[in-house]
Point group: C2
């Protein structure tokens, strides 16, 4: 970020929905450092990723409100007076969305509308940055995937996240609520939920390696993904929050080094020195909603705000493994 | 349709959601003629398009159930034993969706999920044909618009209709509920709601012309649209219902003769011999969600099932004007 970008957040009132979660809490830490007046809301629904330990050490430098984004009354109050909203609250499990599509709809679809309606009525001058997902693209037609690729989700979560994103764009265009969406690929790093394996495999792989357990890779491990270290993801949000050029746009936030899961796990095991890999058949419920190879072209966001990923995979994995080795029990217990 | 297609529907159990509405009732008439066992459900919400008069003359040849598609219990019961579901229930007003986004979400988004969940649990062998809309494309990047065009809705209705459509495709791909979506452009003809002007302008123009009133055209009337006569639209549904090749697909259903609104209104006034046109400024709430010129390329559906529009605009308008001249009061009263 430029010096101007950093100065922008000093004394700025910032709301982070899902702020005790993985990306939200890393973003909160950055904002506290930059001198922002941070309000975090989080429902702390078990299994969703919110963890009070995620703000350990900065508890006294921000405000936490335990609210569910589905609670229209709370949201209506909390958006008042905010300068920027980083809107990261969401249900993120693809498999859960197929088993309980209504909960996914309430959180990822209807609640996004409530938040935007609250902004329209209570705070139309606010800027909103939405945490979108590459899941909206589904199976890519070609690689790398640009923002011109069709939106064609393969699961309920992808559909509801697409709708939630579209609401932001329509509220930008029609009601002037300045909004944009960052379509994140696979984000990894400290403070990710690793209690179970329903929120993306990367954190789960890291946990298994640290615990010297067996990592199961579906198929032959040739599947390609790109990974973004969470500090780079947080930096993307900070830049989008200050940029007027982003308003009304969608931007891929992907990693610099696409890698297949075989090579990823080899790298991870070199970092940990523990754990091992076993190749297994695809479980049918996962295969049905799998998207094949995926990596994003993030050059649109680079052109717009100068962002690019800066943390190489080996460094990111090393920092992540160090973090969890120190704090593992905080991420395994039911807080 | 081929003879085989026509024979397909004999004694077939068919459910039409929104079956007292414009397209649904015209489709019901065709199905009754073909010997199908037709169950129509409709909420008859005032202003939504359902009208008991729409099935005048065939009342005794089908079953009507007054249910709201939001009523999960009813829907769960009603899908049982059906061979084909034509899923046309919806909130269709773009302007209403901006004023009351939650109702639009409940009907166009959540209720579609309920219907599909009901099919998954009660009747997984059913075939579902969904009434999609060209509104999901938003402002076209190029014309004519094919199904490869980005989904980028410009209003809440377009977003929720897109989500409703995506649910059908995911239930097809993941759960094997055979489904497809027909993205309809501007459909016109007998039995359309003309009580107010919030459900598309074509029916409203026809009413004003018949009543010898002034038609207001926004801007200079150079805006291009394509129009599909309702019999052609009904034929598209019937073909999609019999075709296994359609499963999991989206198909544009557009008109053969793109025309600007100036020429359309001239043609209409020639047909009616009454009414007149005035050009006025765009109202801001409509301009904000307007999509500019639009006409669809329907060749994908032609290639797949052989459908093409058959009723020329002048003939369609003539038949429509004749119908409303005979039955006007049935479409102006609050039934």
């Amino acid at each position: 970020m430029t010096l101007d970008d950093r100065a922008f957040y000093r004394d700025r009132r910032v709301l982070i929905t899902g702020g005790l979660g993985f990306i939200g809490s890393n973003l909160a830490r950055r904002l506290v450092e930059l001198g922002a007046d941070v309000l975090v809301i989080d429902s702390l629904i078990p299994d969703y990723g919110g963890n009070p330990f995620n703000i350990s050490g900065i508890e006294n430098r921000l405000t936490v409100n335990r609210s569910d984004i589905r609670d229209e009354g709370s949201i209506n109050d909390l958006v008042r007076g905010q300068d920027v909203i980083f809107n990261l609250a969401g249900q993120v499990s693809h498999v859960d969305s197929m088993n309980d599509p209504y909960t996914d709809l309430e959180i990822n679809c209807r609640s996004q509308l409530s938040l935007l309606e609250a902004c329209r009525k209570q705070n139309p001058a606010v800027k909103v940055v939405f945490a979108g997902t590459r899941q909206v693209y589904g199976h890519p037609d070609s690689l790398p995937v640009t923002e011109d690729h069709l939106v064609r989700p393969v699961d309920i979560n992808g559909i509801n996240k697409a709708a939630g994103e579209y609401y932001h764009l329509v509220y930008n265009d029609v009601f002037g609520i300045r909004s944009c969406s960052l379509r994140l690929t696979n984000v990894y790093g400290p403070r990710q939920l690793i209690k179970h394996n329903r929120q993306g495999f990367i954190g789960w792989f890291i946990r298994l390696a640290i615990e010297d357990r067996e990592i199961e890779i579906f198929g032959d491990g040739s599947q390609i993904r790109d990974f973004v270290f969470v500090d780079d993801a947080a930096d993307a949000f900070l830049r989008a929050g200050t940029s007027e050029k982003c308003n009304g746009g969608v931007y891929n936030i992907g990693g610099a080094e696409p890698i297949n899961l075989r090579d990823l796990s080899t790298t991870l095991l070199e970092v940990t020195g523990t754990g091992r890999v076993r190749y297994v058949e695809w479980p049918s419920e996962k295969k049905a909603i799998d998207i094949g190879d995926f990596y994003a072209d993030s050059s649109k966001f680079t052109r717009t705000v100068g962002w690019r990923p800066t943390i190489p995979l080996v460094e990111g994995l090393t920092r992540t493994v160090e973090f969890y080795r120190e704090h593992l029990e905080r991420y395994l217990s039911d807080a």
